[in-house]
């Protein structure tokens, strides 16, 4: 399984949850490689987003009737928007930083121009007709 760990970290965590509860251990160890191999990136995203959505719904609407303190609900309900804003800021900052620090290879261009001259001279000597 080691080579799947990087690619499907999220899914493996979920599997561990089931296993630690003693839930059909052998069934999951058998099935997981197949699920992991066939899961597309789209499905991984759908899976991840629905997990977060379920957790959010459980706390915000108290679906399990856990009678959580009201502070929990106050923190939970704006969470999706908060996460979106954070992700948006992170994306903008990352792309902005990477554009600003994108190397301009002036030297490489100069080196190439010099080599083109050299190459043309040498190829002519060798009898190349352009």
């Amino acid at each position: 399984m080691s080579h799947h760990t990087f690619r499907h970290r999220g899914v493996i965590k979920v599997r561990c949850l089931f296993e630690s509860g003693g839930f059909c251990h052998s069934y999951f160890t058998l099935l997981c490689p197949i699920i992991l191999c066939t899961m597309t990136k789209l499905l991984e995203w759908v899976f991840g987003v629905s997990l977060i959505g379920i957790a959010w719904g459980l706390v915000t609407f108290d679906l399990l009737d856990l009678q959580l303190p009201p502070q929990y609900k106050d923190v939970a309900w704006p969470m999706p928007i908060y996460l979106l804003v954070v992700f948006g800021c992170y994306s903008l900052a990352t792309v902005g930083y990477r554009v600003a620090t994108f190397n301009d290879c002036e030297d490489a261009a100069k080196e190439l121009q010099a080599q083109i001259k050299e190459a043309k001279g040498e190829l002519k000597k060798k009898g190349l007709k352009m």
Partner: protein, 264 residues
């Protein structure tokens, strides 16, 4: 379960090659450079000269396979002259009658490649052969299945791009990294070194064209659990001829990205 079979196929082939080559390891590695060309009569002699120079200096065994897709500008005639100058063991011509696309050019080229490694690069001088010895060292260092040149990390970079082009490139790369998590920093670059059998397996599975083709190669590589090494490269945008990035390219890139997102 195709996934596992592939991994083992590649490993078997490695074992076989290792067993066969224990005595003459350095000598036995041969690098086939695939150069797909279309209207590159200006650039082809220069890129070939540079390839000969750097392969000559580093002493690796090599061949250059020119796959010309019926260029009307006489690229093939130039290639024939180059073959006379450098020898038909170094310059191999595998022309095709018409423009048939990059993927099939690689399939066509690989069929005639006698090396155990294949290097693919653009013939328009945006990829400099000086990096090839670094690719080879990197490959040997980690035994990688493929080594990809990257403009986006380390000393890598570009020349001749304005702010708009940089922004689109960085933005597209970021979105792709988030959606596909491919395990490589430069997905649309096409300066790479492959183990021959790995390239054959990847090309066989790829369906897309253009920019997306290069991206799909990396994504498929991840699917097959190939190991990927990276070498920072400087990308000097084409000296002769036009380089384009218009609305059409962007739309087809997005389409390709979403297709890969949904299917891999």
């Amino acid at each position: 379960m195709q996934h596992f079979r592939c991994l083992y196929d590649v490993e078997d082939a490695n074992m076989a090659s290792r067993r066969g080559n224990t005595k003459t390891h350095l000598q036995s590695d041969k690098y086939s450079v695939l150069l797909p060309t279309y209207n590159e009569r200006e650039n082809l002699p220069l890129i070939v000269w540079l390839l000969v120079k750097y392969f000559g200096e580093s002493g690796y065994n090599y061949e250059i396979i020119v796959i010309d897709d019926g260029s009307p500008d006489g690229t093939l005639q130039i290639a024939e002259q180059l073959q006379k100058i450098y020898g038909s063991d170094k310059i191999i011509l595998r022309p095709r009658a018409q423009k048939l696309g990059l993927g099939t050019a690689y399939i066509h080229g690989v069929k005639h490649a006698t090396g155990n490694f294949v290097i693919i690069m653009d013939a328009d001088l945006s990829h400099h052969p000086k990096f090839i010895p670094q690719f080879i060292e990197k490959q040997k260092e980690g035994g990688y299945d493929l080594v990809s040149g990257t403009r986006y990390s380390g000393d890598g970079g570009v020349y001749g791009w304005d702010l708009r082009r940089k922004l689109i490139s960085r933005g597209a790369n970021f979105v792709t990294q988030v959606l596909l998590r491919p395990g490589a920093s430069d997905l649309t670059g096409s300066f790479r070194l492959y183990k021959k059998e790995v390239l054959e397996k990847l090309v066989e599975r790829c369906v897309s064209k253009g920019y997306v083709f290069q991206m799909e190669m990396i994504v498929r590589a991840r699917q097959l659990d190939c190991t990927i090494g990276e070498v920072p490269i400087s990308f000097v945008d084409r000296v002769y001829g036009e380089s384009k990035l218009g609305g059409n390219e962007i739309v087809s890139f997005l389409k390709g990205l979403l297709t890969l997102f949904a299917t891999t």
